[in-house]
């Protein structure tokens, strides 16, 4: 894989957008936790004044606080995984886990477009050798370009299929009305990354499907 300034720039831009999205999501979790904690404080002050407190409500509040902490922890785990994806340029990864991580990271931007992301794959791992960070970058860029095409409220389905030892095929299908049927989904950045990662990328407008053929190993180049 040849790393040039262009690829690095695309990668930095991707990392920035993901971090912005994660920090926004974390701010929301912290804001909810802060309001829950504030409400507990309000109840405590009311109890001190001799007012009756709904104990069931207190229990629900405690449960809600725990759930928000779990959600915040999940977000931080994702953040940690993407940060560590840059530890080595090349590595062996389970493509299924990698796509799942990109979907988790892309849920917030998808939600802003009122789009639901659905992932379908087999239960078995699909092991490939690639650049984990740039592979995530490529899938994220594909999704970003597809988000722009969805009219309003839609589903994008991601299907991951093993190619019997010859890598894998990722199908990204828009299951709703699209704004432009003649749109050029594959922009320059996608092409640069696709070339560097030795993937084959194709937009089939009739099926509203983007095909991404991923090789089993790219370290040889």
């Amino acid at each position: 894989m040849k790393m040039n300034n262009n690829i690095n720039q695309i990668g930095i831009s991707f990392f920035g957008r993901v971090m912005a999205s994660i920090s926004h999501e974390m701010k929301n979790r912290v804001a909810i936790i802060k309001e829950h904690a504030g409400l507990l404080k309000d109840y405590s002050a009311m109890a001190e004044q001799g007012r009756k407190i709904d104990m069931e409500r207190l229990g629900r509040l405690g449960k809600a606080l725990t759930e928000q902490v779990v959600k915040a922890d999940d977000i931080l785990k994702n953040m940690n995984q993407i940060a560590h994806s840059t530890d080595e340029i090349f590595g062996q990864v389970d493509l299924k886990e990698l796509v799942k991580l990109v979907i988790d990271l892309a849920k917030r931007p998808a939600n802003l477009y009122c789009i639901e992301l659905v992932f379908q794959t087999s239960e078995f791992p699909i092991t490939i050798t690639t650049s984990p960070f740039f592979m995530m970058n490529l899938i994220w860029l594909c999704l970003e370009e597809m988000f722009k095409l969805v009219e309003s409220k839609g589903i994008i389905e991601l299907k991951l299929e093993s190619q019997n030892g010859n890598g894998a095929l990722i199908r990204m299908i828009i299951n709703s009305e699209i704004t432009k049927t003649d749109a050029n989904v594959i922009n320059d950045n996608l092409l640069h990354l696709s070339l560097a990662l030795q993937t084959a990328i194709e937009w089939q407008s009739a099926d509203q499907t983007l095909l991404l053929q991923v090789p089993v190993n790219i370290t040889g180049s």
Binding site: S23, H24, K27, N28, V30, A31, I32, I33, K34, E35, H36, G38, L39, D42, M46, A64, Q68, N111, L112, Y113, C114, S152
Partner: protein, 147 residues
């Protein structure tokens, strides 16, 4: 009369808990989880203050603010932003928002802004009433014609 507040945020849990806390402080609070629902409510009811999240799916906070200012120009809007930068909040204030707060916000800061926003709205409404009274006194016939 209680101050009427509409909280607009797609984070339902945030809306509900903030609403409960403001209700305990004797405000009359309603919630909306989408921009479209907020516009619907603002069209049919009068709120003194709208607490509005900037980034929401579908119709975002800036679009909602523009609609509020068209429908009910006297309703004061406090923007809530989850961004560390204040560009969107500044844009909101240029479009007529009273003020902004960053998430997570201090309750005291929010209450203080609600009070100041309500004072501004009350003063504005009073000036409109005074102007109408002056108009009636200076030209009583206009009242007859308008009725």
């Amino acid at each position: 009369m209680q101050i009427r507040i509409l909280i607009v945020d797609d984070e339902e849990e945030f809306c509900q808990t903030l609403a409960e806390r403001l209700t305990l402080r004797h405000y009359h609070v309603t919630t909306s989880y989408t921009g479209q629902d907020a516009i619907e409510k603002i069209t049919h009811f009068n709120y003194d203050i709208v607490i509005l999240d900037v980034q929401m799916p579908g119709m975002d906070g800036i679009d909602v603010l523009k609609e509020i200012k068209k429908l009910k120009p006297l309703t004061e809007v406090i923007m809530l932003t989850g961004n560390a930068t204040v560009e969107s909040a500044i844009e909101g204030m240029k479009l007529g928002a009273f003020d902004y707060l960053m998430k997570p916000c201090e309750t005291e800061d929010l209450i203080s802004k609600i009070k100041r926003a309500h004072e501004k709205k009350s003063e504005h409404e009073e000036r409109i009433r005074d102007a109408k009274i002056k108009e009636i006194i200076s030209s009583p016939r206009t009242v007859l014609h308008s009725e």
